[in-house]
């Protein structure tokens, strides 16, 4: 083995050894495999909408299930690609690696190979889960008959998508060296997926479906006209759109990877500090000893809450990740509100359509932000090592916790206001008339802000109780996926209806918003999350236990 190849293999081996010891590497295939199993075995997971009488094990249904799982799994692809390329910088090993004999190509080659091996192992859980689910539902013989129908979408959809998205995320991670950039790109991919899928479901085909990085749109477009009898038996079609889609995204991934191999560095680039403001732009205070004259005293609770809330809201809203997610969310809401609002809608109907678009298309961004920043509230001070400085201050723990949560809510309120305003403005531009304001603003609070405040509070509780950042994030995201999955099926149950916000149906909403349901759900969730926060607050400790 040549020296270069040996070094690349050594990098890959070390990465795989680290990945083997990561609990998440085992959790990822478990999640995908269980989702696939739950779908194929007839469980509560409904991965293929509007399946009609077509059985879950039909090749068409299995193919669409695979596209859904691989779209969901891109969160995993992002995490793996981010971990392999960003960890060395995070643990400050990058400079050690960069100053040895290792070359960029060997380093990136080894990392990429390891990432792809891990991803392949993770995604292999999909056919395994599907096959086991079919066996559990209809017996081993039936499952053996369906083996081809399980493996075909894995080979034609799952692996190419994993490869294309994996290359793209890996390349951006290597070039940008920032987690938020990878997450931002992941959201752009999800948005393209939603847009292309929407176009395909609306009758578009050809180039419109090429935009889908997860290859769902070409499959939907090619099989849209199939009758149920064909859907029940015909294999996944490999038409020109699917081939073009895959070729396009694999080429994009390969180009991005080539750019990374040509331009990325092993060690994080040295940040060049910005020029300091000109000295003397304001004279220093005349009495430099003024600080000696002021004594400290324990602060009252409300002053602490206000101070901590302002501090947390400031650092959150200045965080690049928050700003990227907020900007992408605003873009997504604006585009979808523009598409949703009819040109001739009345002010009430335009506002209702704008609200429907905002609640539907802001959800993912708000959920991500609420989950991530609830975790940051618990972990950031410790990770940045500000905690010992803050813990040594004469401020009550309860007031600090309350202030932190209030600051997060304030930042969420700013974001919700932005998203609601963007949707409203899109409706204004679309119709040329001023949409209803007062009811729209009140409904934005009830349907957008309150659910996400409650979600953020619950996420914070999960982080405090679980006491593991990554596990808590995954638990929250998984809980959201489960909630969304079962939501449609549970709407007929009285207790679920009581806890869920009424859907925003624009026509009905314009006539009269279902305030009773929204207020009941708001009250229930705010009470539940408030109790949970109060209980979890007792676990928040200052300093270290004795």
């Amino acid at each position: 083995m040549s020296g270069a190849l040996a070094r690349a293999v050594a990098v890959a081996r070390l990465e795989l050894a680290v990945q083997r010891r990561e609990p998440l590497t085992a959790l990822y295939p478990l999640v995908l495999g269980l989702l696939a199993f739950a779908y194929a075995s007839g469980g509560p997971v409904e991965l293929v909408p509007a399946r009609g009488p077509v059985p879950r094990g039909a090749p068409w249904a299995l193919a669409l299930a695979c596209t859904g799982l691989v779209a969901f799994g891109q969160v995993i692809t992002t995490m793996v690609a981010a971990t392999v390329i960003l960890r060395d910088r995070a643990v400050r090993m990058d400079a050690l690696l960069a100053t040895g004999a290792l070359r960029r190509v060997e380093y990136l080659g080894g990392k990429l190979a390891a990432a792809l091996v891990v991803l392949l192992a993770v995604y292999a859980a999909i056919p395994v889960g599907l096959w086991l689910g079919l066996a559990a539902d209809g017996g081993v013989v039936r499952a053996l008959d369906a083996t081809g129908a399980v493996l075909r979408p894995f080979a034609l959809l799952v692996v190419p998508v994993m490869l294309g998205v994996g290359l793209l995320q890996f390349a951006l991670g290597a070039l940008a060296g920032r987690l938020w950039a990878i997450v931002g790109q992941g959201l752009v991919l999800l948005w393209l997926w939603g847009a292309a899928l929407g176009a395909a479901e609306g009758g578009a085909s050809g180039a419109a479906t090429w935009l889908d990085p997860f290859a769902s749109a070409p499959v939907v477009a090619a099989t849209r006209a199939w009758p149920d009898t064909v859907r029940a038996v015909a294999p996944l079609p490999v038409d020109a759109s699917l081939v073009a889609n895959r070729a396009l995204w694999l080429a994009i991934g390969a180009l991005a990877a080539a750019l990374a191999f040509a331009r990325a560095t092993i060690a994080a680039p040295v940040a060049v500090p910005r020029a300091s403001p000109a000295a003397g732009d304001a004279a220093p205070p005349a009495r430099v000893d003024a600080w000696r004259a002021v004594a400290a005293a324990p602060l009252d609770g409300w002053a602490t809450v206000r101070a901590q809330a302002g501090y947390v809201a400031r650092w959150m809203m200045r965080d690049a990740g928050w700003r990227v997610l907020a900007a992408l969310g605003a873009l997504n809401v604006a585009v979808n509100a523009w598409r949703a609002v009819p040109r001739d809608a009345s002010p009430a109907l335009a506002a209702a359509h704008a609200l429907a678009a905002a609640t539907m298309h802001a959800r993912l961004f708000l959920i991500l932000l609420a989950t991530i920043y609830a975790g940051e509230l618990v972990w950031r001070e410790r990770e940045q090592r500000t905690a010992p400085l803050l813990d040594a201050l004469p401020a009550r723990t309860g007031a600090l916790v309350t202030g932190g949560l209030a600051g997060t809510v304030a930042a969420q309120a700013v974001l919700v206001a932005l998203l609601a305003a963007v949707a409203w403005l899109a409706a204004l531009v679309r119709t040329g008339a001023v949409p209803e304001v007062a009811r729209y603003a009140a409904a934005s609070v009830a349907w957008l802000l309150v659910p996400f405040v409650a979600w953020m509070a619950c996420s914070w509780v999960v982080h405090v109780v679980v006491a593991n950042k990554v596990a808590a994030h995954l638990l929250c995201i998984a809980a959201w996926v489960v909630a969304v999955t079962v939501d449609g099926r549970m709407r007929t149950h009285g207790w679920w209806r009581a806890l869920g916000w009424p859907a925003v149906e624009p026509a009905a909403f314009a006539a009269g918003a279902p305030w009773d349901g929204a207020l009941a759900a708001s009250a229930a969730w705010l009470a539940l999350s408030g109790v949970a926060v109060a209980a979890a607050s007792r676990r928040v400790a200052r300093g270290e236990p004795g």
Binding site: P285, D289, A295, Y311, R318, P394
Partner: protein, 292 residues
């Protein structure tokens, strides 16, 4: 009549599960002035400072800070201490002025006008005035360290706890920090923890040597050095001969110089004619104290 100490510790014990005592019956009291806390890595210095900063409860003992029982009323004690931990950080997007204003508010420095004046004065005092509105991520390591000092000084606390503050600083920044610490010690008790003997020798009139959780020496540098006067001997011996000396003599220091081993031993007489009498230093005291 002597003034009440600003910082007093009695019978302090901390034991981590499954390990030896991190602090074992530690007791001392200090008034205004600079007290050096010397100890090798793992001696218990950071544990002691965390306990004094109310961040860790001891298993037993009593801590009094400016007349306040710190274990009974942590908030009142926190208003009287300034703490600069060994490792700390700040949100990178916020500016020194914003951060200092926040810490001042949480420390209970009020009202607004007074607080603003105090924050600006502190920024000027630690030479961060020109970068007051720059994000923390754009500051150098020395600037961040000085911001940490400013945070510790907010509210003009009578007791300052400073943990290894100069470890990552260049000589120039180290000198500036020394100047500041000496100036601060005129009216307040400053406990300056370090494993750098030179720092303590240069700054402190009072030294505590902590080893394996116990205070093994206490006093002014010249007092600590006195017992070794006339009993410290030094020689360079060939590498091969060093083990025999180590076995038979009380060697307190041992270093390589030009390929030979320079040994410093303590004893009433020179071990061999090759050993010459040498004036003892605080380094020797420290080495002798932690030898056992």
């Amino acid at each position: 009549m002597t003034a009440a100490p600003l910082l007093a510790v009695e019978g302090l014990r901390v034991r981590y599960a499954g390990g030896p005592a991190a602090l074992d019956d530690v007791a001392f009291a200090v008034g205004a002035g600079l007290t050096g806390l010397l100890g090798p890595n793992g001696a218990g210095k950071s544990t002691l400072l965390r306990v004094l900063a109310t961040l860790q409860r001891p298993d037993a003992g009593r801590v009094t800070i400016a007349g306040v029982d710190a274990l009974a009323d942590a908030d009142a004690a926190r208003a009287r201490i300034g703490y600069l931990p060994q490792e700390f950080g700040f949100p990178p997007a916020l500016t020194p002025r914003e951060l200092l204003a926040h810490f001042a508010l949480l420390k209970g420095v009020a009202p607004d006008g007074t607080r603003r004046d105090a924050v600006d004065a502190l920024l000027a005092r630690v030479n961060l005035w020109d970068v007051r509105d720059r994000p923390v991520k754009a500051l150098s390591g020395g600037m961040r360290q000085r911001l940490g000092v400013a945070v510790a000084l907010v509210g003009a606390p009578p007791v300052l706890l400073v943990d290894e503050p100069t470890v990552a600083l260049d000589p120039h920044e180290r000198h500036r920090l020394h100047d500041l610490v000496v100036e601060l010690a005129d009216t307040r008790a400053v406990l300056f923890s370090t494993h750098l003997v030179a720092d303590v020798e240069a700054l402190c009139r009072d030294v505590l040597v902590l080893h394996r959780g116990r205070i093994v020496r206490r006093g002014a540098p010249e007092v600590l050095v006195a017992p070794l006067a006339g009993r410290t001997w030094r020689a360079r011996v060939p590498h091969a001969a060093a083990p025999a000396v180590r076995e038979t003599q009380r060697v307190i220091r041992d270093r390589l110089v030009g390929g030979e081993v320079e040994l410093t031993v303590v004893g009433d007489v020179a071990p061999t004619p090759a050993f010459v009498a040498t004036a003892p230093t605080l380094d020797d005291v420290f080495a002798e104290a932690i030898r056992t």
